[in-house]
């Protein structure tokens, strides 16, 4: 190692690494604001959806657990206590006047009271709920398979998505979510009215919550009031297919 020259070059190299890191950071922030760059990044979402759909059997089930795996306490997330007066009134009388509306591109519009939903064929599943933030909780869900409701209503051939309209608002904006027919017809996609053998509590979306087990938590709409069958998602609320998709640019396909 001959002293001076290599010492300087080392210093230059360290400086170069430092400058490079700074450049990377400010460059990334600027890129992050660019529409075309965000569109480019979004290609990965389409790639993930295509890859997962190609690699996964349509009916492949999410893992189901034994009762001893059930989490001690299932965290309540998103809206916990909807403040809307209409919803409060429904809680007061035990959802006696509540009914699930099914409309849009269906042969027969439905209004199904809670009692009737609970009489329908039901499915129990002990599954893992995965939040986009990274945590997980395991719970036992009981509910009517969504495909059963779809058979009752009869989807028109044009229908491609189901939109779930909810009773709660976040920051003044109504919550909603949507799924395609592949997930809608999946055997584990149920409209749950019980959690861990108890009537679904308000904190978890009473009286009815969507379970779509192969996707992240924000797809599992709580406080479901109405299911609308549609051909496309544009024109519905923000047009991206869900509350978080509209408000915070979350992926519509949340299988990853």
């Amino acid at each position: 190692m001959t002293g001076r020259r290599s010492l300087l070059s080392r210093r230059a190299l360290i400086g170069g690494i430092g400058a490079g890191t700074g450049l990377l950071l400010s460059g990334c922030d600027r890129l992050n604001e660019s529409d075309s760059w965000r569109r480019t990044l979004r290609l990965a979402e389409q790639g993930n959806e295509a890859a997962q759909r190609a690699l996964t059997a349509r009916m492949a089930l999410a893992r189901e657990f034994d009762p001893h795996h059930i989490s001690r306490k299932f965290p309540e997330n998103g809206t916990r206590r909807p403040q809307e007066a209409g919803y409060q009134a429904m809680v007061q009388n035990g959802f006696a006047d509540w009914s699930l509306k099914v409309d849009g591109l269906v042969e027969k519009r439905l209004a199904l009271p809670l009692g009737q939903l609970r009489q329908m064929p039901s499915r129990n599943q002990i599954t893992r709920h995965d939040c986009v933030e990274g945590w997980s909780a395991i719970g036992k869900w009981t509910g009517v398979p969504l495909s059963h409701i779809l058979d009752l209503a009869g989807l028109m051939p044009k229908a491609r998505y189901l939109v779930f309209h909810c009773a709660d608002r976040l920051g003044g904006v109504p919550y909603y979510e949507s799924i395609d027919l592949i997930d809608a017809r999946h055997p584990q996609t149920i409209l749950a009215w019980a959690l861990n053998d108890q009537m679904l509590p308000v904190g978890h979306g009473a009286p009815l919550r969507l379970r779509v087990e192969r996707q992240l938590g924000y797809k599992h709409a709580k406080y479901v009031m109405r299911i609308e069958a549609v051909e496309r998602l544009t024109g519905i609320y923000g047009g991206r297919g869900g509350y978080w998709e509209d408000v915070a640019d979350y992926e519509w396909y949340a299988g990853i």
Binding site: R10, L13, N32, R42, G47, A60, R63, F65, D130, G255
Partner: protein, 272 residues
Amino acid sequence: MAMNGPVSEPPADPAPTTGHPRLTRLWHWANVIILPVMLMSGLTIFNAHPRLYWGHAGNLNDYAWFAVGSSPTQSYVRIGETRIPSTGWIGNWTDDRGRIQTWAFPSWATIPSRYDLAAGRRWHFFFAWLMAGGLAAYMIGSLANGHIRRRLHLSRTEWYPRSIWRDMRDHLSLSMRHRAELQHYNILQKFAYIGVIFLALPVMIATGLAMAPGMDASAPWLVDLFGGRQSARSVHFITAFSLLAFFLIHMAMLLVSRPLARLRTMVRGRPA
């Protein structure tokens, strides 16, 4: 003969006859962009829930083996039962406007620099495709062009404890006796490169996939391999920081052993 030059000035290297194949150089420089983006966007995602668990499930109501505790006045990193104060660095830091922030990792370490989970995920998953594609191309190409056999294969004598021990001593004393390593990697170097290419990066991809609820249905064995989704998340985090440690040692080794010659070799393929 008995040449008696000072130990610190060994004779110059013999001119290396082989450099780095084009595929190696291409992949190396692609990773200079891809891996920092993966780490920094990953830290954005981690900031959404800065706690790690073992097993299938884990949330605020469960025991976390790793957690960042933050408040507006102080913060700590807890590993097991050991609390390490981290005020000013992790969990409580000052942003460029002088405000105290309580996100776990500070803005200089994340992409984007302000907390945005959706954007962090988009960056992460886009570059994950590049990372996985690059690794696959490099593995296949380097097996085919003989690079792995020529440069990374461990001969039987290299496995002798004596030679491993000698190499460790050389590294610790920074004497770098094996000056011919522009042509021949020493054994610790081979361990490190093999570990990164065939262990750490594949584990990053596998644990990343194991966290996806969609993969839980299509490849439950992958989740089981790591002992559950939360275990996979923990392994993902540990392996990411192992790769960061590799990078820091990689830089240190570069700086103590003719950095410019090595940079030239990695750019042009040959040192001259």
